[in-house]
Symmetry: C2
Subunit: 337 residues, 2 copies
């Protein structure tokens, strides 16, 4: 796995305490599932090392408070809340998608069963709201309301993604709408939640939110490019894993919609219910490239990062905070592909 810039690693310790305190309120059975998911415990409850996520969303939340001129600690309940919401969505998505592995470890539902994993996800979603509403300061209720609306958008994105599996034709616009819900909504909320909590003016909060939304789409575009052309060392996944799984990622959707002869052959190969061998996967990757799917995604990612930067400037954060936001943006959108 790629590791985070130094500026983000300090975040994890700060947020880890808040997160552990929150999750510690859960009943012992639900706690066990959550502790396993967060990489704190093995399946039998013994302490674990590794398996933690990048804590990207909490890092953005803390920066968000600093963007509004407050101390990062003011955003701690927000940082915990967005990470809890992210964990909720991963626990449930793994069940829905039948994914058995999460961060090189068995997914919770494969260890504890589906019912316990459903319940643990539910508990983390409720806990996100509870933690946020306990925050001191002027913006707790608005932050919690934003997070609930964000969760609604996240769910809309995931439900669109589930629907795609049953449909023959999906437009690039629909695919972008899915990503705006499933990936970008929570990143947008993470980038603004600290400012909201500290009672920053609405236009500042809105600009930070827009920064995160554009960053989220850029992040997904890069992730999709890595799912086709990334190497195993960078992604931690087998090469061409998205093609193997017939994932309808953004470069694929762009290529299918291009109307080239290669689009038509791609369409035919991608719809076939039989698994592809390596030679066919390589042909599919070539067809996506020949139909302009790769070039479109690379250009769109750059464009989204530019737009994100413009929104960030509109929020007028202190220079060092601006630099850190951009360092994270650079990190999540240029992962050596």
């Amino acid at each position: 796995m790629t590791t985070l810039p130094v500026s983000m690693t300090g975040t994890r310790e700060l947020v880890d305490g808040a997160l552990r305190a929150a999750v510690g309120r859960l009943d012992p059975r639900t706690y066990r599932v959550a502790a396993h998911h967060f990489g704190w415990a093995q399946a039998d409850g013994r302490p674990a090392t590794g398996g933690q996520g990048k804590a990207l969303r909490p890092a953005l939340a803390l920066l968000s408070a600093r963007a509004a001129g407050a101390a990062p600690e003011a955003a701690l309940p927000g940082a915990a809340a967005v990470e809890l919401t992210h964990a909720f969505s991963l626990l449930h998505d793994d069940i829905m998608d039948g994914d058995r592995v999460r961060r090189h470890r068995p997914a919770a539902w494969t260890v504890f069963g589906e019912p316990a994993a459903i319940l643990a996800g539910d508990a983390l979603l409720a806990l996100a709201s509870e933690v946020l509403l306990e925050a001191p300061g002027p913006g707790a209720a608005t932050a919690a309301r934003n997070l609930a609306a964000t969760t609604r958008r996240l769910i809309a994105g995931q439900s669109l993604d589930l629907e795609f599996e049953t449909r023959q034709k999906i437009t690039l616009d629909e695919c972008l709408a899915m990503v705006e819900g499933k990936t970008a909504a929570l990143l947008a909320c993470s980038c603004s939640i600290g400012a909201v909590l500290t009672g920053a003016p609405e236009p500042v909060c809105a600009a930070l939110d827009a920064f995160g939304a554009e960053l989220g789409v850029a992040f997904q575009l890069v992730d999709d490019l890595l799912g086709i052309w990334g190497d195993t060392d960078t992604t931690g996944k087998p090469t061409m894993s998205d093609l193997r799984a017939r994932k309808l990622s953004l470069p694929i959707a762009a290529a299918l919609q291009a109307g080239t002869p290669e689009s038509a052959r791609l369409q035919m190969l991608y719809r076939r219910p039989v698994p592809s061998g390596t030679a066919e996967l390589e042909e599919i990757a070539r067809l996506v490239e020949a139909s302009g799917g790769r070039a479109w995604a690379e250009k769109e990612a750059r464009l989204r990062v530019e737009r994100a930067a413009a929104h960030l400037d509109a929020a007028a954060p202190p220079d060092d905070v601006r630099a850190e936001f951009l360092r994270i943006a650079d990190f999540v959108t240029r992962r050596d592909h």
Copy 2:
């Protein structure tokens, strides 16, 4: 199904509008599942009649505002929020428990699949928080925080219930703790949420909450008695359905713990993995009665209703509100068994 007292039927229309407005914000795919669950639509989206729940929790929420001297309308967001939370828990419980029928109709997961039903439950939980935080007035944030803590207790109860299935011995205290989470927590929240929303003094809110908590345990005790000795006309379920399903209900837990010779035989029969014929189910019911499980549950239900009434008096609601609360308490605890 038993129908509600007249005083409660007016509630449904009032709450139905708020509920439909809230659920109408969901994406069309998630909306469809929710509309089916609420009995507004058939599986294919066409309008449905019937299948609605009793709207017990919203009725209590509206009364709760009146208990604090406010208009019932002040509690509408609270009434919608507790019903959304109840719906969330039913959607997910049916998946976890493998229950295929809900209110004489196919459970959502059997119609739309597990992933869509998981997502719809998630969406309703987030929506409950969103609706509540949009409420005007002084108590919205506190009400939302209470509801989130209530959801945590609800989940603790359900996770204990799931654990029971894997254990040999369960004490009556553990069984009561499960009921306090799974059934009583949300009823307690429903009975206080209207008062909290209108900014009523904390002791009034606490007394209403305690009324609901005792009422919730009484409600479950009566439900458990009906699950053994209720007739099909009253319950809408086959006779002795809880015994058939080997449900560890409160009268059973009391009987198993009694230490009588009948307890030992009950233990043996109830642990056997083979289904019981009618004669054996009748023997099991006799053993529960002979071990004092029935008498204990009947007495405990009366005791809980008395305690509930004492808490209600401590909240000092207007006379007509007190009478309505007690009418509902009577309705849910004396369903012709």
